[in-house]
């Protein structure tokens, strides 16, 4: 019996299969952006070949296929989603375009505002109004609703978002509107705010609901098709989709809450990182996933990934809880330029995969980070992608020379400068990711994965005074591998209404209702044991940012329940922000419950202990480490548990290269992974 993980990236679709013996097989196949399922099916063919069976045989013996998809992400980024109409409270139809009065880039007063996903002519006010206590100040006006629905029909919208003020507290008006829509426009998709994000704060709720309406038809169409193709190809197991919060859900649920799939891809990387933390026994890791156009940075602290609801993608606010991932526009394709003050800049523009860095020979002439790496000797132009796609060294040199000329520097100085600047950018990203949460990065190990990470990890780590780097053998397919260990997860939340201090009975009632809802839903998909995770979002009286406080093992029947919850909040506040104000009122804002169906992990047993024979380099080449040095080059395949070596060294694999500087030491751990200690 197999379990399969499939991660669709911008360039490659990565696949991983494991069987019950723990045997793990990888495959890579080109992605097919027009219809990702084509690349998935082709990748499965390749995976089966590597397993030595037919695709049909493999699929017939697969009980679970876990999928990370960028369909929603791309629909948003490329603006190729549904034609959405918004039904909202009369007199309040501009909330989404007001953006609470904020705009990016303080000194840019000449860039016009972005186009909202739903233009004003498709934002319709409906006569109805709830008050802050959930009671109706104005009842839903059936005649007005009928007229609005007729206008929606005329507008040609194929997806509708419904969001009324205070519906987080009382969904009655929204439910009535949805029922009417279903009757009168049965072919149109509907997203309802009290379903998508039943939480106070109208901007976040309406924006998230609109994003959901925008991507839902695309996601549903894609997943339904993929599921059908898989079944036609012999698959009889369950297809699960990884969600932005790191859990996974079946196709119907992932389609319903389609806005919750926008980080489906990188979420697998975090699951993989968490599993690495477990296998290594290193609870504190900074996952550092550097690809061609962007670098994803996250945080595993105490073995856990943090969740946040601060999400923003393609300028759209998505307030669903998702894994905390900082994506910075810096990668191997980032382009170097010299500005009007003769200052070197690297990125945020990227050469992408087309035309790509100059050395790809696809017509790109700008110097990208990859070109600098070629000039510096870190990348072997001839052996790129295992020799399948050699690089044009002369083109890299010519591109870097243009930068050197503008800066009046030598070629090598310019290349070293580009290398240094991109490293600083990535270090900055990690600094914000860690220090913003009061976490000192120096206590963390850097988990280096993604194609480009290995050449930069050591310098980025040094910049942050991080002393240890881990490079797993699955580095280039870590996301797909991580998906195999994702748990099933269903999350619900509800806002507590009240002006005074919450009572213990109110807390119990809130959680009881949420638990029943969450566990009930999960039981439909999952027969195993269900664990419940509770948390509460709270703040001090006059604050505006809530803190999510896990309630873990708290006894809900305790007599001093509220005092205990408040004390946890004070402690967490102190932990994050250096102080607590115990005399001050604590406001209980949202109760959250996650029902988690735990998936049995594969065997994490390490490989054979040690290898006695010393490892020998396969060759040598010139690389710039402050001066030209002759550096031994090792093949990752040759390095076995127990081996160790000292920098300078270059370690090459088919899809990644690791640079080890003078004084750094590499040991190969029992799992066969590189464990690098910096000087």
């Amino acid at each position: 019996m197999y379990t399969i993980g499939v991660d669709v990236g911008g360039t490659y679709t990565d696949l991983v299969a494991t069987d019950q013996t723990g045997r793990t097989v990888f495959a890579k196949s080109p992605s097919t952006p027009a219809d990702q399922s084509v690349g998935v099916m082709a990748g499965l063919e390749e995976l089966a070949r590597r397993l030595g069976v037919t695709r049909a045989a493999m699929l017939a013996a697969t009980d679970r296929l876990v999928h990370g998809t960028t369909v929603a992400t791309n629909a948003l980024l490329e603006r190729k989603g549904a034609k959405v109409a918004l039904l909202t409270t009369e007199g309040h139809r501009d909330v989404v375009e007001m953006r609470e009065g904020l705009k990016p880039d303080r000194y840019d007063l000449r860039t016009p505002p972005p186009e909202p996903l739903v233009p004003r002519e498709r934002r319709f006010g409906v006569r109805e109004r709830l008050k802050a206590d959930g009671s109706a100040a104005i009842a839903l006006d059936a005649t007005a609703l009928g007229k609005v629905i007729a206008e929606v029909k005329r507008s040609g919208a194929n997806s509708v978002a419904v969001c009324f003020l205070h519906a987080y507290l009382n969904p009655a008006h929204e439910l009535a509107a949805v029922e009417r829509l279903a009757k009168e426009l049965p072919e149109v998709s509907v997203s309802r705010s009290s379903d998508v994000l039943p939480q106070i704060k109208e901007y976040e709720r309406v924006s998230t609901t609109i994003v959901n309406a925008y991507v839902e038809p695309t996601v549903r169409h894609y997943l339904t098709n993929l599921e059908r193709s898989l079944h036609e190809a012999g698959f009889k197991g369950s297809l699960f989709v990884v969600l932005s919060h790191g859990g996974m859900a079946p196709v119907e649920e992932a389609s319903r809450l389609a806005a919750g799939t926008v980080l489906s891809g990188p979420a697998g990387g975090i699951s993989g990182s968490r599993r690495c933390a477990e296998m290594l026994g290193i609870p504190d890791l900074v996952p550092f996933d550097m690809g061609g156009t962007s670098t994803d940075i996250s945080l595993i602290a105490d073995g856990q990934a943090s969740l946040s609801a601060d999400g923003m993608l393609a300028g759209q606010r998505i307030a669903l809880r998702s894994l905390d991932i900082a994506s910075i526009a810096a990668g191997g394709g980032s382009i170097a330029s010299v500005d009007g003050s003769r200052t070197l800049r690297v990125g945020p523009e990227s050469a992408g995969s087309v035309p790509g860095p100059a050395c790809y020979g696809n017509g790109g002439t700008a110097a990208a980070v990859t070109d600098a790496n070629v000039v510096l000797g870190y990348l072997d132009a001839a052996a790129f992608m295992g020799g399948a796609r050699p690089l044009d060294r002369a083109a890299s040199e010519a591109a870097v020379d243009r930068i050197a000329k503008a800066l009046e520097l030598s070629r090598i100085e310019a290349a070293a400068g580009i290398y240094k600047m991109i490293n600083l950018k990535m270090a900055d990203g990690i600094r914000l990711m860690t220090l913003r949460r009061g976490v000192d990065p120096r206590k963390f190990a850097l988990l280096s994965f993604g194609g480009a990470a290995g050449m930069h990890a050591a310098e980025v780590a040094r910049e942050l005074e991080i002393k240890r780097i881990i490079v797993p053998t699955v580095a280039s397919v870590l996301s797909a591998w991580g998906m195999l260990t994702s748990d099933l997860r269903y999350e619900v939340s509800r806002t507590h209404y009240g002006t005074g201090r919450i009572s213990a009975d109110e807390v119990r009632a809130l959680f009881a209702a949420l638990e029943e809802q969450a566990a009930g839903r999960l039981r439909d998909w999952f027969k195993g044991d269900i664990a419940i995770e509770r948390s509460a979002e709270m703040r001090y009286g006059e604050q505006v940012f809530e803190i999510d406080v896990p309630l873990g093992d708290l006894d809900l029947n305790a007599a001093d329940l509220v005092a205990q919850i408040e004390e946890r909040f004070h402690c967490r506040h102190e932990e994050l922000y250096t102080y607590a104000s115990r005399g001050q009122e604590v406001v209980f804002v949202n109760a959250r419950v996650a029902a988690v169906g735990k998936i049995a992990r594969g065997s994490d047993d390490a490989g054979e202990a040690t290898s006695a024979a010393p490892c020998a380099p396969r060759g040598k080449r010139q690389a710039w480490l402050g001066a030209w040095r002759e550096v031994p080059v090792y093949a990752l395949d040759d390095l076995k548990p127990g081996h160790s070596l000292a920098g300078p060294a270059i370690i090459e694999a088919e899809t990644t290269t690791v640079l080890v500087d003078d004084g750094d030491r590499v040991t190969v751990n029992p799992l066969g992974w590189l464990d690098i200690t910096l000087r």
């Binding site: 009065g101 904020l102 500005d339 070293a416």
Partner: protein
């Protein structure tokens, strides 16, 4: 590492990047640790690194009107203290000794290399109260600065690492919400100390001499970049004027006049033609006037030029003490960071429309703030609700139409207004309507952004009191290059049994009765370019979207 004679461009880039990430990190710390809503939500604070000669080395993009003010604050500190030791912390707010207006408190932490003092890390933050006659410092009735709050000249709050508890007590005693004040001050000092630690690390890594050489090179390179931009503008002497509605004490149409001389890569802004100072809080302090001019200049040059002293080197400011833009010591000045700052910007931008038409923008909204004080019948508690941001439209530019409901000239989309749902839960208020205000954006080839139509009902059981502070109920945000002005603010109080009353921008003690409705119509932004050049498609779209009520 020995200091090289000439700094190489890579080292310069690295140091520049590092300094800017230090001020960003200081900003993150400030945002997350401050107590008051005006800081942790509206982000009314700024961070900077200055050197001991008062040059601005690096700053974080928060509130533009703070940009050019901090060097003057640094100069005031340097003038007062010759004996700064490691571990000292200096504090000030007095507008006549380096401050802009009293609510803006500024903390300085010195950074040393060995025994040599080189830089300051600086945090400026707007306090929610600073004492004085009215809550929250904005007092339209004030005729002298003493009625606006407690004045703090440059003082040593810490000496060699030890806090002066007696001074802290003195300050806290003079402020209405001492707990919040102490919390915010702790956050400010924390952020400044964090910056100090990071800069010290930079010194130890590169050597202070290298960092100093890099700073010189950064400022020179920024200057060169700015001069290249300014050189591309048309030379000449240009005039622009802007009018304040009134000073609240009986004077109307208070004029701010700018004569701008642009010659090659140099630019001189002369404000001496501005009207005499006022008896009210619409006066500007000297530092704030400098900051407002720098802000206007920053809006005209490229967005990505670092806003440091190098960028301001081509700019010379001339003004006369005793005018509205530079008041005599002792005059009230609290409104100055918004007014006349906005009008100083407007006058300069108008003047420059003849020199660099591709860069000027239509006027952004003026400020019109309301604060309501009353009792919440749901819990019997007193409440104070501020409308921080009037949600006016932004000005149009060559790039396109202006942003709707985005804020004022001096904050330009950096000041957030909160959630209506949260406001209704926390305050006895009901927001009947909160939508774009049709027809408010100034017409033009590119249309100004729309202001907001906001109807808010007071759901108290007892009468409440309101105060206003701001301007722009008579003069709308200016149109540019033939574009029309945006509609001015128009606020009315609707009260059953009384005739509707138009609210003035500078009122204290407005009587509000239960069930009263504040009908707020905030201004649209100014248009850019002649209306006859607006495309038929754009006009059809305006009508289809209901942004303009009828086809022109």
């Amino acid at each position: 590492m020995p200091a090289p004679a000439k700094i190489d461009p890579i080292t310069r880039s690295v140091v520049q990047h590092r300094l800017s990430s230090i001020v960003k990190e200081m900003g993150e710390a400030m945002l997350r640790t401050s107590y008051s809503q005006i800081l942790n939500s509206s982000r009314d604070f700024s961070l900077a690194i200055c050197d001991i000669s008062g040059r601005l080395i690096a700053q974080a993009d928060h509130i533009p009107v703070h940009v050019g003010a901090l060097p003057w604050a640094t100069l005031a500190v340097e003038a007062r203290f010759k004996d700064v030791a490691p571990g000292d912390v200096i504090l000030l707010n007095d507008p006549y000794q380096g401050g802009s207006h009293l609510p803006d408190l500024t903390a300085f932490v010195p950074v040393f290399d060995g025994g040599k003092r080189l830089l300051w890390t600086i945090v400026r933050a707007h306090q929610s109260d600073i004492g004085g006659a009215t809550h929250g410092a904005y007092n339209p009735g004030a005729t002298e600065i003493y009625q606006e709050g407690i004045r703090i000249p440059p003082i040593k709050l810490y000496e060699a690492g030890k806090p002066r508890e007696d001074l802290l007590d003195l300050l806290a005693l003079n402020i209405r919400n001492p707990r919040e004040f102490r919390g915010d001050l702790a956050a400010m000092l924390g952020a400044a100390h964090l910056g100090e630690r990071r800069v010290a690390k930079l010194f130890s890594e590169f050597g202070a001499e290298t960092v100093e050489a890099a700073i010189e090179a950064i400022l020179d390179a920024t200057e060169q970049q700015t001069r290249a931009v300014v050189s591309s503008w048309k030379d000449g002497v240009f005039y622009g004027e802007a009018l304040l509605d009134d000073d609240g004490h009986g004077r109307t149409d208070v004029k701010i006049a700018a004569k701008v001389t642009k010659n090659g890569s140099d630019i001189e802004v002369d404000l001496t033609g501005s009207d005499p100072q006022s008896t009210s809080f619409v006066n500007s302090s000297h530092a704030n006037m400098q900051a407002a001019v720098a802000m206007a200049f920053a809006y005209l040059i490229d967005a990505d030029i670092p806003k440091n002293t190098g960028a301001l080197r081509p700019l010379k400011v001339v003004a006369r003490q005793g005018t509205i833009v530079w008041a005599d010591p002792g005059r009230p000045v609290t409104l100055c960071t918004s007014h006349p700052s906005n009008e100083i910007v407007e006058a300069i931008i108008k003047a420059m429309s003849a020199s660099c038409p591709d860069r000027v923008m239509g006027g952004w909204g003026r400020r019109f703030r309301i604060a309501i004080q009353g009792e919440d019948p749901r819990n019997g508690r007193n409440f104070i609700w501020h409308m921080f941001q009037a949600r006016p439209g932004g000005g149009a530019s060559i790039g396109g139409d202006g942003y709707c409901s985005i804020g004022e000239w001096h904050t330009v989309g950096g000041l957030k207004f909160g959630s209506i749902e949260v406001a209704e839960v926390r305050f006895p208020l009901h927001f009947r309507q909160h939508e774009f205000r049709p027809d408010s954006g100034g017409d033009g080839q590119h249309r100004g952004g729309l202001g907001v139509a906001l109807d808010m009902v007071l759901e108290t059981q007892k009468p409440a009191k309101g105060n206003t502070a701001g301007d722009g109920a008579r003069h709308g945000p200016c149109g540019m290059l033939g574009g029309r002005d945006g509609e001015p603010h128009h606020y009315r109080l609707l009260s059953e049994g009384r005739a509707p009353r138009v609210l003035k921008t500078k009122e204290v003690g407005i009587e509000l009765r239960p069930g009263d409705c504040l009908e707020i119509r905030s201004s649209g932004g100014g248009g850019w370019g002649p209306p006859e050049k607006r495309s038929a498609e754009a006009r059809a779209r305006d009508v289809a979207q209901g942004l303009v009520s009828k086809a022109v």
